[in-house]
């Protein structure tokens, strides 16, 4: 059996071997968070994603975009269409109801006339 200090040393060595190179730097970086330089490089990465002639493309697209109807105008058109359809349905319904009323009234008048004149009915 090996003495205890030897065992401790072996344990420490084993634990230390688990750490990858540059551990101190990585620990410091993680504790401090990203450096300003890292942020700068990060933003620069985004900047590199823009293709040359970006401003011209935006202005061209903005000119086209003004011709495209907005969501509000789409909504207004839909509402106007729905209103026209509803008016047409109500108009046709009312016309049918009026026609049925007139027809029923004529039939009723004919019945009343027939009832008032029993001879006409007998004939």
């Amino acid at each position: 059996m090996k003495p205890e200090p030897f065992a401790w040393r072996a344990l420490n060595e084993h634990a230390a071997a688990q750490l990858h190179g540059g551990f101190a730097d990585r620990a410091l970086r993680a504790a401090r968070g990203p450096e300003t330089e890292t942020w700068r490089a990060f933003f620069a990465r985004g900047v590199r994603s823009l293709r040359p002639g970006f401003a011209e493309r935006v202005l061209r697209a903005a000119r086209v975009a003004t011709d495209i109807p907005s969501l509000a105008s789409h909504f207004a058109l839909s509402a106007a269409t729905a209103a026209v359809c509803l008016s047409a349905v109500l108009f046709l319904h009312q016309r049918n109801v009026d026609a049925a009323d007139a027809r029923n009234l004529d039939e009723w008048r004919a019945l009343v006339q027939a009832a008032a004149d029993p001879d006409a009915g007998a004939l």
Partner: protein, 182 residues
């Protein structure tokens, strides 16, 4: 010096508000890099940058005549950028609900060599773990906006910005492990 540049910017904005295309072009060129960086920080995807930055500036061109205070142009522009990115992230989330198989196409990793270093990759990974609102907060700070300006952009108080910023930094540090993919 600062007030001179502020006055020059306000003049430029006024000209753009009158529909002067050269002024609008100058504004886009002046801010395209800052907006591109901001969009990248918000989305973590370089293939989204051009499209989203374009959307931001189209909104700018179409709505600049409604900007009441030309001196507050920068705050207004970054608010447009933040809202555009958050809308895009929401749409993406909705798409994932309705089109679950689209996810694998949307989460295409950055092409090889796109991430320059371990730190950048770690930062991108850490930002991706945060809420979009917190990402916007950290990106605006890095962009050089003051707490008061950020409060204006986010329509909140300076005290709320400080508190949220503290929490966002803590979360970022928790997730910022440069060796996470090593």
């Amino acid at each position: 010096m600062e007030s001179t540049s502020t006055t020059a910017l306000a003049d430029l904005v006024r000209r753009a508000q009158k529909g002067e295309e050269s002024a609008q072009r100058e504004l886009i060129i002046s801010y395209q890099h800052r907006i591109a960086g901001f969009v990248y920080a918000m989305t973590g995807r370089s293939d989204y940058v051009e499209d989203l930055a374009q959307q931001v500036f189209i909104k700018m061109v179409r709505a600049i005549d409604r900007l009441q205070a030309p001196a507050q142009f920068e705050s207004w522009l970054f608010r447009l950028a933040r809202n555009t990115c958050i809308d895009q992230l929401r749409r993406q989330k909705l798409r994932r609900i309705f089109l679950p198989f689209g996810e694998e196409h949307e989460n295409i990793p950055e092409p090889p060599g796109a991430v320059d270093s371990e730190e950048l990759d770690a930062l991108r990974h850490a930002l991706a773990q945060l809420r979009p609102q917190d990402r916007a907060l950290l990106a605006l700070v890095q962009e050089g906006r003051s707490h008061a300006e950020i409060a204006e952009i986010l329509s909140t108080s300076v005290a709320a910005v400080k508190a949220r910023l503290h929490r966002a930094r803590e979360h970022l540090r928790e997730h910022y492990q440069p060796e996470h993919e090593a």
